[in-house]
Amino acid sequence: MRVFTQVLERIITLISGGLQGIVICLLMGLILVEVTSRYLLQTPLSVAEEYGGYMLVAITYIGLAYTWKHRTHVRVTFLIDKFPLRIRLGIRVITLCLALVFSGYMCVAAWELVQESFLFGDRSGSWLRTPLAWPQMTLIIGAAMLFLQLSLEVIQAITRFILVEEEV
Protein backbone atom coordinates (compact mmCIF):
# COMPACT_ATOMS: atom_id res chain seq x y z
CA MET A 1 0.00 0.00 0.00
CA ARG A 2 2.82 2.36 0.96
CA VAL A 3 4.67 1.67 -2.31
CA PHE A 4 1.46 2.24 -4.27
CA THR A 5 0.93 5.57 -2.47
CA GLN A 6 4.49 6.67 -3.12
CA VAL A 7 4.27 5.78 -6.83
CA LEU A 8 0.98 7.64 -7.11
CA GLU A 9 2.39 10.73 -5.37
CA ARG A 10 5.40 10.65 -7.66
CA ILE A 11 3.21 10.49 -10.75
CA ILE A 12 1.13 13.42 -9.47
CA THR A 13 4.26 15.48 -8.75
CA LEU A 14 5.63 14.76 -12.22
CA ILE A 15 2.49 15.43 -14.25
CA SER A 16 0.69 17.97 -12.08
CA GLY A 17 3.86 19.81 -11.00
CA GLY A 18 6.92 19.24 -13.20
CA LEU A 19 5.07 18.94 -16.50
CA GLN A 20 3.14 22.15 -15.83
CA GLY A 21 6.44 23.91 -15.10
CA ILE A 22 7.52 22.85 -18.61
CA VAL A 23 4.19 24.13 -19.98
CA ILE A 24 5.00 27.55 -18.46
CA CYS A 25 8.36 27.50 -20.27
CA LEU A 26 6.55 26.55 -23.50
CA LEU A 27 4.10 29.40 -22.92
CA MET A 28 6.97 31.83 -22.53
CA GLY A 29 8.63 30.42 -25.68
CA LEU A 30 5.39 30.71 -27.63
CA ILE A 31 4.98 34.36 -26.63
CA LEU A 32 8.59 35.08 -27.62
CA VAL A 33 8.10 33.45 -31.02
CA GLU A 34 4.95 35.52 -31.50
CA VAL A 35 6.76 38.72 -30.46
CA THR A 36 9.63 37.95 -32.85
CA SER A 37 7.35 37.10 -35.77
CA ARG A 38 5.12 40.12 -35.16
CA TYR A 39 7.65 42.86 -34.41
CA LEU A 40 10.83 41.72 -36.13
CA LEU A 41 9.66 39.65 -39.09
CA GLN A 42 6.39 41.60 -39.55
CA THR A 43 4.54 38.31 -40.14
CA PRO A 44 2.43 37.50 -37.09
CA LEU A 45 1.75 33.81 -36.58
CA SER A 46 -1.36 34.44 -34.45
CA VAL A 47 -0.86 31.12 -32.70
CA ALA A 48 0.00 32.32 -29.19
CA GLU A 49 -3.39 33.90 -28.60
CA GLU A 50 -5.13 30.57 -29.05
CA TYR A 51 -2.58 28.13 -27.65
CA GLY A 52 -1.64 30.43 -24.75
CA GLY A 53 -5.22 30.15 -23.51
CA TYR A 54 -5.15 26.33 -23.80
CA MET A 55 -1.89 26.26 -21.86
CA LEU A 56 -3.37 28.39 -19.11
CA VAL A 57 -6.30 25.97 -18.76
CA ALA A 58 -3.78 23.10 -18.51
CA ILE A 59 -1.60 24.85 -15.90
CA THR A 60 -4.63 25.72 -13.78
CA TYR A 61 -6.47 22.40 -13.93
CA ILE A 62 -3.62 19.90 -14.10
CA GLY A 63 -1.74 21.96 -11.49
CA LEU A 64 -4.60 21.57 -8.97
CA ALA A 65 -3.39 18.26 -7.50
CA TYR A 66 0.20 19.48 -7.04
CA THR A 67 -1.06 22.73 -5.54
CA TRP A 68 -3.25 20.80 -3.13
CA LYS A 69 -0.34 18.54 -2.19
CA HIS A 70 1.73 21.60 -1.32
CA ARG A 71 -1.08 23.17 0.75
CA THR A 72 -1.21 26.31 -1.41
CA HIS A 73 -5.01 26.42 -1.73
CA VAL A 74 -6.24 29.11 0.65
CA ARG A 75 -8.47 28.05 3.56
CA VAL A 76 -9.82 29.78 6.62
CA THR A 77 -8.76 27.99 9.78
CA PHE A 78 -9.30 30.56 12.53
CA LEU A 79 -12.34 28.73 13.95
CA ILE A 80 -11.44 25.07 13.53
CA ASP A 81 -8.00 25.74 15.06
CA LYS A 82 -9.84 26.44 18.31
CA PHE A 83 -11.37 22.92 18.42
CA PRO A 84 -9.69 19.94 20.12
CA LEU A 85 -7.47 17.87 17.81
CA ARG A 86 -9.92 14.95 17.57
CA ILE A 87 -12.81 17.15 16.40
CA ARG A 88 -10.49 19.06 14.08
CA LEU A 89 -9.37 15.86 12.39
CA GLY A 90 -12.97 14.62 12.17
CA ILE A 91 -14.05 17.85 10.45
CA ARG A 92 -11.09 17.59 8.07
CA VAL A 93 -12.14 14.07 7.06
CA ILE A 94 -15.62 15.37 6.25
CA THR A 95 -14.43 18.43 4.30
CA LEU A 96 -11.91 16.33 2.37
CA CYS A 97 -14.66 13.84 1.48
CA LEU A 98 -16.78 16.74 0.20
CA ALA A 99 -13.83 17.98 -1.88
CA LEU A 100 -13.34 14.43 -3.22
CA VAL A 101 -17.00 14.13 -4.23
CA PHE A 102 -16.81 17.52 -5.95
CA SER A 103 -13.66 16.52 -7.83
CA GLY A 104 -15.56 13.39 -8.97
CA TYR A 105 -18.25 15.67 -10.40
CA MET A 106 -15.50 17.73 -12.04
CA CYS A 107 -14.27 14.56 -13.79
CA VAL A 108 -17.76 13.69 -15.04
CA ALA A 109 -18.37 17.30 -16.14
CA ALA A 110 -15.08 17.45 -18.05
CA TRP A 111 -15.77 14.05 -19.66
CA GLU A 112 -19.20 15.20 -20.84
CA LEU A 113 -17.79 18.45 -22.23
CA VAL A 114 -15.14 16.60 -24.25
CA GLN A 115 -17.71 14.07 -25.47
CA GLU A 116 -19.97 16.89 -26.67
CA SER A 117 -17.07 18.61 -28.41
CA PHE A 118 -16.27 15.38 -30.25
CA LEU A 119 -19.94 14.80 -31.07
CA PHE A 120 -20.54 18.25 -32.52
CA GLY A 121 -17.05 18.57 -34.00
CA ASP A 122 -16.40 21.86 -32.13
CA ARG A 123 -13.44 23.78 -33.50
CA SER A 124 -11.72 27.02 -32.57
CA GLY A 125 -12.70 30.19 -34.39
CA SER A 126 -9.14 31.02 -35.48
CA TRP A 127 -7.40 30.10 -38.73
CA LEU A 128 -5.99 27.03 -36.99
CA ARG A 129 -9.47 25.49 -36.60
CA THR A 130 -8.22 23.35 -33.70
CA PRO A 131 -10.65 20.58 -32.65
CA LEU A 132 -11.52 21.82 -29.13
CA ALA A 133 -11.95 18.35 -27.64
CA TRP A 134 -8.16 17.86 -27.57
CA PRO A 135 -7.18 20.88 -25.46
CA GLN A 136 -10.32 20.33 -23.37
CA MET A 137 -8.93 16.95 -22.36
CA THR A 138 -6.61 18.81 -19.98
CA LEU A 139 -9.74 19.39 -17.86
CA ILE A 140 -10.27 15.61 -17.59
CA ILE A 141 -6.61 14.94 -16.79
CA GLY A 142 -6.55 17.73 -14.17
CA ALA A 143 -9.79 16.62 -12.49
CA ALA A 144 -8.64 12.97 -12.49
CA MET A 145 -5.26 13.83 -10.93
CA LEU A 146 -7.03 15.91 -8.32
CA PHE A 147 -9.40 13.02 -7.59
CA LEU A 148 -6.40 10.72 -7.01
CA GLN A 149 -4.63 13.28 -4.81
CA LEU A 150 -7.76 13.86 -2.75
CA SER A 151 -8.30 10.07 -2.40
CA LEU A 152 -4.83 9.86 -0.86
CA GLU A 153 -5.57 12.83 1.39
CA VAL A 154 -8.83 11.25 2.59
CA ILE A 155 -7.04 7.97 3.42
CA GLN A 156 -4.30 9.87 5.30
CA ALA A 157 -6.85 11.99 7.18
CA ILE A 158 -8.87 8.92 8.22
CA THR A 159 -5.66 7.19 9.37
CA ARG A 160 -4.70 10.21 11.49
CA PHE A 161 -8.22 10.39 12.93
CA ILE A 162 -8.17 6.68 13.89
CA LEU A 163 -4.71 6.98 15.48
CA VAL A 164 -5.84 9.92 17.63
CA GLU A 165 -9.02 8.04 18.58
CA GLU A 166 -6.92 5.05 19.70
CA GLU A 167 -4.64 7.31 21.78
CA VAL A 168 -7.69 8.80 23.51
Binding site: L32, A48, G52, G53, I59, H73, L79, L113
Partner: protein, 433 residues
Amino acid sequence: MGPDILFAVGLIAGLLFLLVMGLEIGWSIGIVSLVGLVFFIEQPINQIAYTSWNALNSFTLTAMPLFILMGSVLGNTGVNEKLFNAIDKWVGHLPGGLAVSVIFGNAVFGAMSGSTIAATATFGKIAFPVMESRKYNPSFSLGTIASGTVLAPLIPPSILLILYGAWQGLSIVDLLAAGLIPGLMLTALFLLTITVIVKINPDLVPVPVKYSWGERKKAVLEALPFVAVILGVLGSIFGGIMTPTEAAGLGAFLSIILTLFYRKLTFRIFSDSLMDTVRITSFSLFIMAMSTLISHVFNSAGLIPLLKDYVLDLYIGKYTILLGFFIMYFIMGMFFDSWSMLFLTFPFVMPIVMGLGINPIWWGVVYVMAAEQSTITPPFGLTLFVLKGVVPQYSLSTIVKGALPFLIPIYINIILLILFPQLATWLPGMLGN
Protein backbone atom coordinates in the same frame (compact mmCIF):
# COMPACT_ATOMS: atom_id res chain seq x y z
CA MET B 1 -39.51 36.02 1.20
CA GLY B 2 -39.98 33.79 -1.87
CA PRO B 3 -38.59 30.25 -2.11
CA ASP B 4 -35.92 31.40 -4.59
CA ILE B 5 -34.55 33.94 -2.14
CA LEU B 6 -34.69 31.41 0.69
CA PHE B 7 -32.71 28.95 -1.42
CA ALA B 8 -30.16 31.67 -2.28
CA VAL B 9 -29.78 32.59 1.38
CA GLY B 10 -29.33 28.88 2.11
CA LEU B 11 -26.57 28.66 -0.53
CA ILE B 12 -24.73 31.69 0.89
CA ALA B 13 -25.09 30.28 4.42
CA GLY B 14 -23.75 26.94 3.12
CA LEU B 15 -20.78 28.71 1.55
CA LEU B 16 -19.97 30.51 4.81
CA PHE B 17 -20.33 27.24 6.73
CA LEU B 18 -17.91 25.39 4.41
CA LEU B 19 -15.41 28.28 4.60
CA VAL B 20 -15.56 28.38 8.39
CA MET B 21 -15.14 24.59 8.53
CA GLY B 22 -11.79 25.06 6.81
CA LEU B 23 -12.58 23.71 3.35
CA GLU B 24 -10.40 25.33 0.70
CA ILE B 25 -12.05 28.46 -0.80
CA GLY B 26 -12.19 27.19 -4.39
CA TRP B 27 -13.93 23.97 -3.35
CA SER B 28 -16.32 25.75 -0.98
CA ILE B 29 -17.51 27.93 -3.86
CA GLY B 30 -17.50 24.94 -6.25
CA ILE B 31 -19.65 22.71 -4.01
CA VAL B 32 -22.21 25.45 -3.36
CA SER B 33 -22.30 26.21 -7.10
CA LEU B 34 -22.87 22.53 -7.87
CA VAL B 35 -25.80 22.36 -5.44
CA GLY B 36 -27.24 25.51 -7.00
CA LEU B 37 -26.65 24.19 -10.51
CA VAL B 38 -28.47 20.89 -9.90
CA PHE B 39 -31.25 21.87 -7.48
CA PHE B 40 -31.75 25.57 -8.12
CA ILE B 41 -31.38 26.32 -11.80
CA GLU B 42 -31.54 22.66 -12.90
CA GLN B 43 -28.74 22.75 -15.44
CA PRO B 44 -26.44 19.85 -16.41
CA ILE B 45 -23.27 19.42 -14.36
CA ASN B 46 -21.07 19.77 -17.43
CA GLN B 47 -21.59 23.50 -16.80
CA ILE B 48 -18.70 23.15 -14.28
CA ALA B 49 -16.31 22.24 -17.09
CA TYR B 50 -17.89 24.58 -19.61
CA THR B 51 -17.57 27.60 -17.28
CA SER B 52 -14.02 26.66 -16.28
CA TRP B 53 -13.03 26.35 -19.94
CA ASN B 54 -14.51 29.70 -20.90
CA ALA B 55 -13.12 31.52 -17.85
CA LEU B 56 -9.59 30.17 -18.13
CA ASN B 57 -9.12 30.00 -21.90
CA SER B 58 -7.91 33.62 -22.01
CA PHE B 59 -4.81 35.02 -23.66
CA THR B 60 -5.01 38.18 -21.52
CA LEU B 61 -4.80 36.11 -18.34
CA THR B 62 -1.59 34.41 -19.50
CA ALA B 63 0.21 37.62 -18.47
CA MET B 64 -0.34 36.54 -14.87
CA PRO B 65 1.85 33.38 -14.70
CA LEU B 66 4.53 35.10 -16.77
CA PHE B 67 4.71 38.09 -14.40
CA ILE B 68 4.76 35.69 -11.45
CA LEU B 69 7.64 33.79 -13.08
CA MET B 70 9.53 37.04 -13.62
CA GLY B 71 9.02 38.07 -9.97
CA SER B 72 9.91 34.58 -8.70
CA VAL B 73 13.14 34.35 -10.71
CA LEU B 74 14.26 37.84 -9.62
CA GLY B 75 13.16 37.20 -6.03
CA ASN B 76 14.63 33.70 -5.64
CA THR B 77 18.00 34.71 -7.09
CA GLY B 78 18.43 37.48 -4.50
CA VAL B 79 17.97 40.40 -6.88
CA ASN B 80 15.53 41.94 -4.37
CA GLU B 81 18.34 42.16 -1.85
CA LYS B 82 20.56 43.87 -4.41
CA LEU B 83 17.80 46.35 -5.19
CA PHE B 84 17.12 47.01 -1.53
CA ASN B 85 20.81 47.65 -0.88
CA ALA B 86 21.05 50.03 -3.82
CA ILE B 87 17.95 51.93 -2.71
CA ASP B 88 19.24 52.10 0.86
CA LYS B 89 22.54 53.60 -0.28
CA TRP B 90 20.66 56.39 -2.07
CA VAL B 91 17.78 57.18 0.30
CA GLY B 92 18.87 55.57 3.59
CA HIS B 93 20.26 58.88 4.89
CA LEU B 94 16.81 60.55 4.85
CA PRO B 95 14.89 60.89 8.16
CA GLY B 96 13.73 57.38 9.01
CA GLY B 97 16.76 55.76 7.39
CA LEU B 98 16.07 52.15 6.49
CA ALA B 99 12.32 52.65 6.96
CA VAL B 100 12.44 55.01 3.96
CA SER B 101 14.40 52.39 2.02
CA VAL B 102 11.72 49.80 2.84
CA ILE B 103 8.99 52.02 1.40
CA PHE B 104 11.01 52.78 -1.77
CA GLY B 105 11.99 49.12 -2.00
CA ASN B 106 8.33 48.10 -1.84
CA ALA B 107 7.47 50.61 -4.55
CA VAL B 108 10.09 48.98 -6.82
CA PHE B 109 9.47 45.42 -5.63
CA GLY B 110 5.76 45.96 -6.29
CA ALA B 111 6.69 46.26 -9.93
CA MET B 112 8.37 42.86 -9.75
CA SER B 113 6.05 40.75 -7.65
CA GLY B 114 2.72 42.55 -7.57
CA SER B 115 1.74 40.41 -4.60
CA THR B 116 1.39 41.57 -1.01
CA ILE B 117 2.18 38.20 0.53
CA ALA B 118 5.41 37.87 -1.48
CA ALA B 119 6.42 41.45 -0.62
CA THR B 120 5.73 40.89 3.09
CA ALA B 121 7.77 37.71 3.23
CA THR B 122 10.63 39.24 1.23
CA PHE B 123 11.00 42.46 3.21
CA GLY B 124 10.48 40.61 6.48
CA LYS B 125 13.47 38.46 5.55
CA ILE B 126 15.70 41.05 3.83
CA ALA B 127 15.10 44.35 5.60
CA PHE B 128 14.14 43.42 9.13
CA PRO B 129 17.40 41.66 10.15
CA VAL B 130 19.35 44.74 8.97
CA MET B 131 17.02 47.11 10.84
CA GLU B 132 17.23 44.95 13.95
CA SER B 133 21.04 44.85 13.88
CA ARG B 134 21.19 48.65 13.52
CA LYS B 135 18.94 49.04 16.60
CA TYR B 136 15.82 50.35 14.89
CA ASN B 137 12.72 50.14 17.07
CA PRO B 138 11.23 46.69 16.24
CA SER B 139 7.62 47.85 16.31
CA PHE B 140 8.34 50.79 14.01
CA SER B 141 10.39 48.58 11.64
CA LEU B 142 7.78 45.83 11.41
CA GLY B 143 4.96 48.35 11.04
CA THR B 144 6.79 49.96 8.12
CA ILE B 145 7.38 46.59 6.46
CA ALA B 146 3.74 45.49 6.90
CA SER B 147 2.26 48.71 5.57
CA GLY B 148 4.79 49.22 2.78
CA THR B 149 3.59 46.00 1.14
CA VAL B 150 0.27 47.67 0.34
CA LEU B 151 2.17 49.34 -2.52
CA ALA B 152 2.85 46.06 -4.35
CA PRO B 153 -0.64 45.53 -5.78
CA LEU B 154 -1.00 49.20 -6.73
CA ILE B 155 2.22 49.89 -8.59
CA PRO B 156 2.28 48.18 -11.99
CA PRO B 157 2.42 45.40 -12.93
CA SER B 158 -0.17 44.48 -10.31
CA ILE B 159 -1.21 40.84 -10.55
CA LEU B 160 -4.38 41.60 -8.61
CA LEU B 161 -5.39 44.23 -11.18
CA ILE B 162 -4.52 41.86 -14.04
CA LEU B 163 -6.79 39.20 -12.50
CA TYR B 164 -9.58 41.72 -12.00
CA GLY B 165 -9.27 43.13 -15.52
CA ALA B 166 -9.06 39.80 -17.31
CA TRP B 167 -11.97 38.40 -15.30
CA GLN B 168 -14.23 41.41 -15.83
CA GLY B 169 -13.18 41.99 -19.44
CA LEU B 170 -11.51 45.37 -18.82
CA SER B 171 -8.40 46.83 -20.42
CA ILE B 172 -5.36 45.59 -18.49
CA VAL B 173 -3.26 48.51 -19.74
CA ASP B 174 -5.84 50.99 -18.40
CA LEU B 175 -5.97 49.23 -15.04
CA LEU B 176 -2.20 49.07 -14.65
CA ALA B 177 -1.91 52.75 -15.60
CA ALA B 178 -4.70 53.63 -13.18
CA GLY B 179 -2.77 52.19 -10.24
CA LEU B 180 0.41 54.17 -10.93
CA ILE B 181 -0.48 57.66 -9.61
CA PRO B 182 -2.32 56.41 -6.49
CA GLY B 183 0.64 54.09 -5.87
CA LEU B 184 3.17 56.93 -6.12
CA MET B 185 0.92 59.14 -3.97
CA LEU B 186 0.74 56.48 -1.30
CA THR B 187 4.53 56.12 -1.42
CA ALA B 188 4.84 59.89 -0.77
CA LEU B 189 2.25 59.75 2.03
CA PHE B 190 4.08 56.84 3.67
CA LEU B 191 7.36 58.78 3.54
CA LEU B 192 5.65 61.79 5.08
CA THR B 193 4.25 59.57 7.84
CA ILE B 194 7.71 58.18 8.58
CA THR B 195 9.16 61.70 8.75
CA VAL B 196 6.44 62.84 11.16
CA ILE B 197 6.82 59.74 13.38
CA VAL B 198 10.61 60.14 13.53
CA LYS B 199 10.33 63.88 14.24
CA ILE B 200 7.94 63.17 17.14
CA ASN B 201 10.01 60.28 18.50
CA PRO B 202 13.64 60.42 17.26
CA ASP B 203 14.62 57.49 19.53
CA LEU B 204 12.85 55.06 17.20
CA VAL B 205 15.73 55.12 14.73
CA PRO B 206 19.51 55.41 14.99
CA VAL B 207 21.42 58.12 13.15
CA PRO B 208 21.00 57.23 9.45
CA VAL B 209 24.11 56.03 7.62
CA LYS B 210 25.29 58.17 4.71
CA TYR B 211 27.16 56.36 1.97
CA SER B 212 29.87 57.76 -0.26
CA TRP B 213 29.15 58.55 -3.92
CA GLY B 214 31.44 55.70 -4.93
CA GLU B 215 29.41 53.20 -2.93
CA ARG B 216 26.18 54.59 -4.34
CA LYS B 217 27.36 54.34 -7.93
CA LYS B 218 28.58 50.78 -7.41
CA ALA B 219 25.24 49.73 -5.89
CA VAL B 220 23.31 51.32 -8.75
CA LEU B 221 25.45 49.67 -11.38
CA GLU B 222 24.79 46.29 -9.78
CA ALA B 223 21.02 46.77 -9.72
CA LEU B 224 20.67 48.73 -12.97
CA PRO B 225 20.20 45.83 -15.44
CA PHE B 226 17.34 44.43 -13.38
CA VAL B 227 15.68 47.81 -12.99
CA ALA B 228 16.08 48.26 -16.76
CA VAL B 229 14.13 45.03 -17.35
CA ILE B 230 11.28 46.24 -15.12
CA LEU B 231 11.21 49.69 -16.72
CA GLY B 232 11.45 48.14 -20.20
CA VAL B 233 8.48 45.90 -19.51
CA LEU B 234 6.37 48.75 -18.14
CA GLY B 235 7.48 51.12 -20.89
CA SER B 236 6.52 48.69 -23.64
CA ILE B 237 3.06 48.23 -22.09
CA PHE B 238 2.30 51.92 -21.50
CA GLY B 239 3.97 52.96 -24.74
CA GLY B 240 1.51 50.74 -26.60
CA ILE B 241 4.35 48.73 -28.14
CA MET B 242 3.34 45.39 -26.68
CA THR B 243 0.34 43.81 -25.02
CA PRO B 244 0.72 43.04 -21.27
CA THR B 245 1.05 39.32 -22.09
CA GLU B 246 3.82 39.89 -24.61
CA ALA B 247 5.63 42.25 -22.22
CA ALA B 248 5.26 39.69 -19.42
CA GLY B 249 6.73 36.94 -21.63
CA LEU B 250 9.64 39.12 -22.61
CA GLY B 251 10.15 40.25 -18.99
CA ALA B 252 10.25 36.66 -17.74
CA PHE B 253 12.70 35.69 -20.49
CA LEU B 254 15.01 38.67 -19.85
CA SER B 255 14.96 37.98 -16.11
CA ILE B 256 16.13 34.43 -16.77
CA ILE B 257 18.86 35.58 -19.17
CA LEU B 258 20.12 38.31 -16.81
CA THR B 259 20.22 36.11 -13.72
CA LEU B 260 21.99 33.45 -15.80
CA PHE B 261 24.49 36.03 -17.01
CA TYR B 262 25.22 37.10 -13.45
CA ARG B 263 25.55 33.42 -12.45
CA LYS B 264 22.72 33.72 -9.96
CA LEU B 265 20.29 31.30 -11.54
CA THR B 266 20.78 27.64 -10.76
CA PHE B 267 18.62 24.80 -12.03
CA ARG B 268 17.20 24.41 -8.51
CA ILE B 269 16.19 28.07 -8.26
CA PHE B 270 14.69 27.97 -11.75
CA SER B 271 12.63 24.86 -11.03
CA ASP B 272 11.51 26.32 -7.67
CA SER B 273 10.43 29.50 -9.46
CA LEU B 274 8.48 27.46 -12.02
CA MET B 275 6.78 25.46 -9.28
CA ASP B 276 5.91 28.67 -7.37
CA THR B 277 4.31 29.92 -10.57
CA VAL B 278 2.31 26.71 -11.10
CA ARG B 279 0.98 26.79 -7.54
CA ILE B 280 0.00 30.49 -7.45
CA THR B 281 -1.57 30.33 -10.92
CA SER B 282 -3.49 27.14 -10.24
CA PHE B 283 -4.90 28.12 -6.84
CA SER B 284 -5.98 31.63 -7.82
CA LEU B 285 -7.40 30.84 -11.24
CA PHE B 286 -9.34 27.85 -9.93
CA ILE B 287 -11.06 30.14 -7.42
CA MET B 288 -11.72 32.52 -10.30
CA ALA B 289 -13.29 29.73 -12.38
CA MET B 290 -15.49 28.64 -9.48
CA SER B 291 -16.52 32.25 -8.78
CA THR B 292 -17.56 32.53 -12.43
CA LEU B 293 -19.66 29.38 -11.90
CA ILE B 294 -21.44 30.73 -8.79
CA SER B 295 -22.00 33.98 -10.63
CA HIS B 296 -23.61 31.95 -13.46
CA VAL B 297 -25.87 30.13 -10.97
CA PHE B 298 -27.09 33.29 -9.28
CA ASN B 299 -27.44 35.16 -12.57
CA SER B 300 -29.41 32.33 -14.19
CA ALA B 301 -31.75 32.33 -11.19
CA GLY B 302 -32.21 36.07 -11.65
CA LEU B 303 -30.93 36.75 -8.16
CA ILE B 304 -27.99 39.00 -8.97
CA PRO B 305 -30.19 41.46 -10.92
CA LEU B 306 -32.64 41.24 -8.01
CA LEU B 307 -29.92 42.04 -5.48
CA LYS B 308 -28.66 44.87 -7.67
CA ASP B 309 -32.17 46.39 -8.00
CA TYR B 310 -32.74 45.97 -4.27
CA VAL B 311 -29.55 47.83 -3.35
CA LEU B 312 -30.08 50.55 -5.97
CA ASP B 313 -33.71 51.02 -4.89
CA LEU B 314 -32.60 51.79 -1.36
CA TYR B 315 -31.72 55.31 -2.62
CA ILE B 316 -29.02 55.67 -0.01
CA GLY B 317 -26.55 57.18 -2.43
CA LYS B 318 -23.42 55.97 -4.14
CA TYR B 319 -21.08 56.85 -1.30
CA THR B 320 -23.15 55.10 1.38
CA ILE B 321 -23.07 51.92 -0.72
CA LEU B 322 -19.32 52.31 -1.20
CA LEU B 323 -18.96 52.78 2.55
CA GLY B 324 -20.93 49.55 3.00
CA PHE B 325 -18.46 47.78 0.69
CA PHE B 326 -15.52 49.18 2.67
CA ILE B 327 -17.01 47.89 5.92
CA MET B 328 -17.55 44.49 4.28
CA TYR B 329 -13.91 44.31 3.09
CA PHE B 330 -12.74 45.61 6.46
CA ILE B 331 -14.39 42.60 8.13
CA MET B 332 -13.44 40.09 5.41
CA GLY B 333 -9.80 41.24 5.44
CA MET B 334 -9.50 39.67 8.87
CA PHE B 335 -9.83 36.23 7.29
CA PHE B 336 -9.14 36.48 3.57
CA ASP B 337 -6.42 37.88 1.29
CA SER B 338 -7.29 40.47 -1.34
CA TRP B 339 -7.34 37.90 -4.19
CA SER B 340 -9.86 35.66 -2.40
CA MET B 341 -12.02 38.64 -1.44
CA LEU B 342 -12.09 39.72 -5.08
CA PHE B 343 -13.36 36.34 -6.26
CA LEU B 344 -15.78 35.84 -3.37
CA THR B 345 -17.49 39.21 -3.60
CA PHE B 346 -17.23 40.54 -7.15
CA PRO B 347 -19.96 38.36 -8.69
CA PHE B 348 -22.34 40.31 -6.40
CA VAL B 349 -20.50 43.63 -6.10
CA MET B 350 -19.74 44.35 -9.78
CA PRO B 351 -23.37 44.53 -11.01
CA ILE B 352 -24.09 47.05 -8.23
CA VAL B 353 -20.96 49.06 -9.08
CA MET B 354 -21.93 49.13 -12.74
CA GLY B 355 -25.54 49.97 -11.81
CA LEU B 356 -24.28 52.98 -9.87
CA GLY B 357 -22.48 54.17 -12.98
CA ILE B 358 -19.07 53.87 -11.34
CA ASN B 359 -16.05 53.68 -13.63
CA PRO B 360 -14.82 50.05 -13.28
CA ILE B 361 -11.20 51.14 -13.78
CA TRP B 362 -11.45 53.56 -10.85
CA TRP B 363 -13.29 50.95 -8.79
CA GLY B 364 -10.49 48.43 -9.40
CA VAL B 365 -7.93 50.77 -7.85
CA VAL B 366 -10.25 51.70 -4.98
CA TYR B 367 -10.90 48.00 -4.34
CA VAL B 368 -7.16 47.31 -4.14
CA MET B 369 -6.79 50.06 -1.53
CA ALA B 370 -9.86 48.95 0.45
CA ALA B 371 -8.85 45.29 0.41
CA GLU B 372 -5.19 45.88 1.16
CA GLN B 373 -5.82 48.21 4.11
CA SER B 374 -7.96 45.50 5.67
CA THR B 375 -5.04 43.06 5.58
CA ILE B 376 -2.97 45.31 7.86
CA THR B 377 -5.84 46.35 10.10
CA PRO B 378 -5.76 44.77 13.55
CA PRO B 379 -6.73 42.51 15.15
CA PHE B 380 -6.66 39.87 12.37
CA GLY B 381 -5.15 41.43 9.21
CA LEU B 382 -3.64 38.70 7.03
CA THR B 383 -0.42 40.60 6.24
CA LEU B 384 0.18 41.02 9.98
CA PHE B 385 0.02 37.25 10.37
CA VAL B 386 2.34 36.60 7.42
CA LEU B 387 4.90 38.96 8.95
CA LYS B 388 4.43 37.37 12.36
CA GLY B 389 5.34 34.05 10.67
CA VAL B 390 8.58 35.61 9.35
CA VAL B 391 9.56 37.12 12.73
CA PRO B 392 8.06 34.71 15.29
CA GLN B 393 10.22 36.20 18.08
CA TYR B 394 8.01 39.33 18.12
CA SER B 395 4.41 39.45 19.30
CA LEU B 396 1.56 40.36 17.00
CA SER B 397 0.84 43.43 19.14
CA THR B 398 4.38 44.72 18.40
CA ILE B 399 3.65 44.56 14.66
CA VAL B 400 0.14 45.99 15.09
CA LYS B 401 1.39 48.94 17.14
CA GLY B 402 3.88 49.81 14.41
CA ALA B 403 1.38 49.39 11.56
CA LEU B 404 -1.45 51.48 13.03
CA PRO B 405 -0.07 54.97 12.15
CA PHE B 406 0.30 53.87 8.53
CA LEU B 407 -3.43 53.32 8.20
CA ILE B 408 -3.84 57.13 8.21
CA PRO B 409 -2.01 57.70 4.87
CA ILE B 410 -3.93 54.77 3.36
CA TYR B 411 -7.28 56.27 4.38
CA ILE B 412 -6.16 59.70 3.13
CA ASN B 413 -5.25 58.11 -0.20
CA ILE B 414 -8.67 56.43 -0.44
CA ILE B 415 -10.44 59.72 0.39
CA LEU B 416 -8.34 61.56 -2.22
CA LEU B 417 -9.24 58.88 -4.78
CA ILE B 418 -12.93 59.31 -4.01
CA LEU B 419 -12.76 63.12 -4.11
CA PHE B 420 -10.58 63.20 -7.22
CA PRO B 421 -11.31 60.10 -9.34
CA GLN B 422 -9.07 61.60 -12.03
CA LEU B 423 -6.09 60.46 -9.96
CA ALA B 424 -6.87 56.98 -11.25
CA THR B 425 -8.61 57.75 -14.53
CA TRP B 426 -6.39 60.52 -15.96
CA LEU B 427 -3.41 58.38 -17.00
CA PRO B 428 -5.46 55.66 -18.74
CA GLY B 429 -7.24 58.46 -20.61
CA MET B 430 -3.92 59.95 -21.65
CA LEU B 431 -2.73 56.58 -22.95
CA GLY B 432 -5.82 56.55 -25.15
CA ASN B 433 -6.82 52.93 -24.70
